[in-house]
């Protein structure tokens, strides 16, 4: 009797300890992905020359997003204003106060439009303008929708490297 109760108390203590350890690992992962950086997946043709349409894993960071505003040319991950569960990646073309002229639908005609990006918003656009759902459809997006800034491409391995701002 005594040996069995000590066995169970030992098992209970061991279980509690490993449960607490798993909980701490979960909390650590949560804090890392929400405050430092995360690995994102991009799929689709909208960023064509920069990212492969067949799928990429990229490393994005959140630190600079908290203190400073994005710069023109950065690739950012943001929550889509049309569907908040989707997080597309696009390039920042204009920041607040910029005057942006864009071709509404490059496949059909050359009709263009010019707007001023309002305060607290950014203008995001895909690199492959013929097939991209971006600010030309849903307008400028607020800063607070931006989740992170893309730093490195992680996979596919042959293109491992930084994805810095490039002049457009």
């Amino acid at each position: 009797m005594g040996s069995s109760s000590s066995f169970w108390s030992l098992a209970f203590r061991q279980g509690m300890r490993s449960g607490a350890f798993l909980g701490e690992i979960y909390c650590f992962l949560h804090v890392t992905t929400n405050y430092v950086g995360f690995v994102g997946y991009a799929f689709g043709p909208s960023m064509n020359p920069t990212l492969h349409p067949s799928g990429n894993f990229v490393l994005a960071e959140r630190i600079s997003n908290r203190s400073q505003k994005p710069i023109r040319g950065d690739i950012v991950v943001f929550r889509s204003p049309e569907n908040p569960t989707k997080t597309p990646m696009k390039r920042v073309i204009g920041i607040e106060g910029d005057c942006i002229s864009f071709v509404i639908d490059p496949e059909k005609n050359d009709k263009s439009q010019t707007i001023v990006v309002p305060k607290g918003h950014v203008w995001v656009q895909g690199d492959y303008t013929h097939n991209s759902r971006d600010s030309r459809t849903f307008g400028p997006i607020p800063y607070s929708l931006i989740q992170g800034r893309v730093l490195w491409r992680v996979w596919p391995f042959q293109d491992f490297g930084p994805l810095g701002p490039t002049p457009t």
Binding site: G23, E24, Y26, C27, F28, H30, V31, N34, Y35, K69, F78, R79, S80, P81, E82, N83, P84, T85, P118, K119, G120, H121, F138, I141, P142, Y143, S144, L145
Partner: protein, 152 residues
Amino acid sequence: MSIHKFIWEVVKKSFAGGIIALTISDRLCSFVPVRGDSMSPTFNPHRNSYLDDYVMVEKFCLKDYKFARGDVVVFSSPTQFGDRYIKRIVGMPGEWMSSSRDVIRIPEGHCWVEGDNKASSLDSRTFGPIPLGLIRGRVTRVVWPPQRLGKI
């Protein structure tokens, strides 16, 4: 030697505690004060009281972003980077709402927020419909002052 060990233990414990607290406040719920009288009959009913109301904000709704008309939500300001407002959702996608300038249709994935105290409230009538992705949580109950403890 033992004092070093003791300091190291304290640092380790406080780091773990901070991480756990941050995770709980992000995933489960957090408590925030309400400033201003834009939600006046619901929060801060007395104009001249020095004590702000504290409310409980639950974060489970951020998993699928499903909200109903009448929910009180916390969201980041679309114009002022870093500010957070507490307002009530009064319009869902597809409805027509009247702003200060004209009548507009709420686009897909957006919602219309307004304060309960329409006279002094900065809300969608000024900056238009807000994307659901800006929402940071749903207010479920008042926790302070204790005599007004209760659901919303």
